[in-house]
């Protein structure tokens, strides 16, 4: 099995590696590149724990082959903060206690960032609709939605 040579921009940095075509973007991020912030929850596109931004769009990394990322750009949760400066969403999640076990949090942060970047005035209904692809089992979503709305207010 010949490996593919993959070159793409990852969290703003040029990255290259060899991978097999059957490896998903999720596998490559976690197992080859050691970025374990993106999580596997279901591996079939139903829980959003593996959310990343791929060429600017919100995707499930488990449903993208790594080789498809060649020449593209990927942003993971590790690329959301700027050094020590947390993104308003990250701060809001902490202040609003919008995480309990935290496993779904990276996926929600990436998904919410994609929302706020494209719809800075989303209301509660739109926030819930946008986040319907991200499962949380601990919080019941209440504080997550409040955190997103709080971050949105701050970013305005």
């Amino acid at each position: 099995m010949t490996k593919a040579h993959l070159r793409f921009e990852l969290n703003g940095e040029p990255t290259e590696l060899l991978c097999e075509p059957r490896q998903s973007l999720l596998e490559v991020l976690r197992d080859e590149l050691g970025l374990t912030g993106t999580k596997e929850g279901c591996n079939n596109g139903n829980c959003g724990a593996c959310n990343v931004l791929f060429n600017g769009a919100l995707v499930n990394a488990c449903c993208v082959l790594a080789v498809e990322a060649d020449g593209g750009s990927v942003t993971t949760v590790e690329g959301i903060a700027e050094g020590e400066r947390l993104h308003p969403l990250q701060r809001a999640f902490l202040e609003e206690a919008a995480l309990q076990c935290g496993i779904c949090t990276p996926g929600f942060i990436v998904a919410a960032k994609a929302l706020l970047d494209s719809e800075p005035d989303a209301d509660e209904a739109r926030v819930r609709h946008w986040l319907a692809g991200n499962l949380c089992r601990c919080t019941g979503y209440d504080k997550i939605v409040r955190a997103v709305l709080a971050a949105e207010a701050e970013m305005r």
């Binding site: 449903c63 082959l65 692809g133």
Partner: protein
């Protein structure tokens, strides 16, 4: 996941050449991947070669002219509902594209892929049929067209011949006094496979009082999405009103052949088919009356 090779052809001819390849294992087309990658991982489909068609211009184009709209087979749902002219011309298709999975799925999943996957419960197919979409195919023997209602031949099976590829969907531009709608029933509010779904497209008289023509389609109630001719006939020429709509609903309930599975019972699906058919016909009528 089994091992496979990957290629990303830049032209349609190149793609067709890859798809003709015989030998051990099938070549499979990769558009959005939200079905294929999961199926390969779970062993429900096999592939020795995955052909990524997203770098072929014809597969990715979305364009409108006075008479038609052309949607490349790999155009993701997010681009469909992000297109202002699509929203204006085909609200029913926007409804479909907005309901397949969630936002993450819609960034990648395409109407073409949804159609080729040929699930009886597919959310894009009823509206495509109602809107008289035509499939443009390309293969070793050249190009051909099939109306969408003849594209699915069974659960998970379609009319593509070996080496053939779905290139585009072509829809006629909507006529005056016409409207269409799509609705699906799921137990949650998002993320589920349809228990039943339905689409209707109607053309009304200029005063909005009569049906000039109608197409009613139900999904998840038969081995393929079902264009219920009897329902359209029950409406055509009739005054817009309860009597005609009731007969269309009865025709739908008589036409469906639903099964019982983990997503719903046959009786429930038959019942819902009628409920949804009524709702989409009524909404299509509202849209037709509001349209110029």
């Amino acid at each position: 996941m089994q091992a496979f090779e990957y290629s990303a052809p830049r032209t349609l001819d190149e793609a067709v050449r890859f798809l003709r390849r015989n030998g051990a294992g099938e070549p499979r087309v990769l558009a959005g991947g939200t079905d294929l990658i999961v199926q390969l991982r779970e062993g429900r489909r096999q592939a020795a070669l995955v052909v990524d068609i997203k770098h072929i211009p014809e597969l990715m184009e979305l364009r409108h002219d006075d008479r038609t709209t052309t949607i490349g087979a790999a155009v993701p749902c997010a681009r469909i509902y992000g297109d202002a002219e699509m929203r204006r011309r085909f609200p029913a298709l926007i409804e479909s594209a907005s309901l397949i999975g969630g936002i993450q799925i819609q960034s990648r999943a395409s109407l073409g892929g949804n159609l080729c996957n040929a699930s009886p419960a597919a959310d894009s197919i009823p509206a495509l049929i109602a809107l008289c979409a035509v499939c443009g195919l390309s293969g070793p023997d050249g190009e051909r067209s099939i109306p969408v209602e003849r594209f699915c031949t069974g659960p998970g099976q379609n009319a593509l011949r070996p080496g053939e590829l779905l290139v585009r969907l072509v829809l006629p531009a909507p006529k005056a006094h016409s409207g269409a709608a799509f609705e699906r029933f799921i137990p949650r509010n998002e993320m589920d496979i349809a228990v039943a779904n339905a689409a209707a497209a109607v053309e009304l008289s200029a005063d909005g009082a009569r049906f000039v023509s109608a197409r009613v389609v139900v999904g998840a109630c038969a081995p393929t999405p079902l264009l219920v001719h009897e329902a359209g006939e029950a409406l055509t020429g009739q005054p817009v009103g309860e009597e005609a709509i009731m007969r269309a609903v009865e025709a739908v309930r008589a036409a469906v052949r639903p099964i019982t599975d983990m997503r719903g019972s046959a009786a429930q699906r038959r019942h819902l088919a009628g409920v949804l058919a009524r709702r989409v016909v009524e909404r299509a009528v509202e849209r037709a009356r509001a349209a110029r």
